[in-house]
Amino acid sequence: MGLMSERILTGQNEKQTEPDWVLMILAVRDHRDRAAFARLFEHFAPRIKGFLINSGADPSMAEECAQDVMTTLWHKAAQFDPSRASVAAWIFTIARNRRIDMLRKQRRPEPEDLTWGPEPEPDQADVVALQQETNNLAKALKSLPKVQRDLIEKAYFGDLTQSEIAKITGLPLGTIKSRIRLALDRLRHAMKQ
């Protein structure tokens, strides 16, 4: 584990001003590091809250839900797979499901969990490449025309019908999809051993 953290550290771009969130989650997972948790909380909780308010939650519910999402992150840190998801993506899935619970909406079945085989850690190169692709995706998202971005946001706030969803085109997902696909292949291979 120590080796992996070091490699993430040395692989970190010096121009990057933001802390390495993957490293923070690993510190939470392996060392129950409360300082790392606090940094994750300070960055992500206000963003989760903003996201929930935009998707129609009232501020006090959004506050409570954002807190819940962060404590869930603490408890489920062992399930985070940095070769398949950015920290923000993982947080998005927790927030989406927490929001469903709070609104007491219909159940949302989740796909089967894929657990690691005897190989204890994802390939380090996969982790770095996935995080790189995530940054590219965020940039591509910023450069989309406003109309298109607004439509995508509405979809993620749970505000669209299926036929409106069908109108969303040109999502910049090609490279991130093949990256995740590759990580899934490696995972399947490890599970077979």
């Binding site: 903003g50 079945p109 749970g158």
Partner: protein, 212 residues
């Protein structure tokens, strides 16, 4: 085993963003459990959701929020969910059935065909279908889209052959006559937008049965 027939891309996006009725969530989660191609698409939609959170509105938390969260870290609030082992039914389906195929409470609908309706919200209907090897699917009409996921055996119709993991998407105006493979009894999950209306299916299925 290669999966050839997938849900539409927009259905996968609607799943990731929680814009589907429960029954459709169930069929997508079940397909994704068997199909890494679609799992990669859904997880890239999750990545996009993450990017939206990362670049979206920031709403400040209450002043004592972090302290309250830190105080709660040692309290294990979430009971572990009962975990199923993947079998003929992928785990999301086992959550609804209460186990694998042996736990399905089938109801006979005639000619060896059985069905089990699963408890979902009323916006759409999910049911498991058991079709004896070589028999035809019961004919039924439905409003809107119908999705069928093969879990065991296979069936064939005008659109091709559908085996484990494959999803057939049919609009309301599609009149197809799927026939189960002769080698093995076929188990499918079928999901329709509105409640099903069986319409004279018994005579029809008898016709087809006789034809085989």
């Amino acid at each position: 085993m290669t999966i050839k027939h997938h849900p539409e891309e927009s259905t996968l996006l609607a799943y990731a963003t929680n814009n589907l009725p429960e029954a459709f969530n169930l069929i997508v989660a079940s397909h994704v459990s068997l199909c890494d191609e679609c799992r990669a698409i859904v997880e890239s939609h999750d990545t996009l959701g993450g990017a939206l959170i990362e670049t979206g509105t920031v709403a400040s938390m209450d002043t004592e929020s972090l302290d309250r969260a830190l105080a709660r870290l040692d309290v294990k609030t979430m009971p572990e969910r009962k975990r199923h082992t993947p079998g003929t039914l992928p785990t999301p389906l086992q959550d609804y059935v209460g186990g694998d195929v042996d736990s399905i409470r089938w109801q006979p609908v005639g000619m060896g065909v059985k069905q089990a309706i699963l408890p979902t919200s009323s916006a759409a209907t999910a049911r498991l279908l058991y079709i004896p090897a070589g028999a035809a699917m019961p004919h039924h009409s439905h409003k809107g889209t119908e999705m069928t996921l093969v879990l065991q055996g296979a069936f064939e119709d005008e659109d091709g052959r559908f085996a484990r993991g494959d999803v057939e998407v049919a609009d309301a105006d599609v009149h197809h006559t799927p026939i189960a493979d002769i080698g093995e009894d076929c188990i499918c999950l079928a999901v329709t937008e509105a409640p099903l209306r069986f319409k004279g299916w018994l005579p029809r299925i008898m016709q087809r049965f006789v034809r085989i």
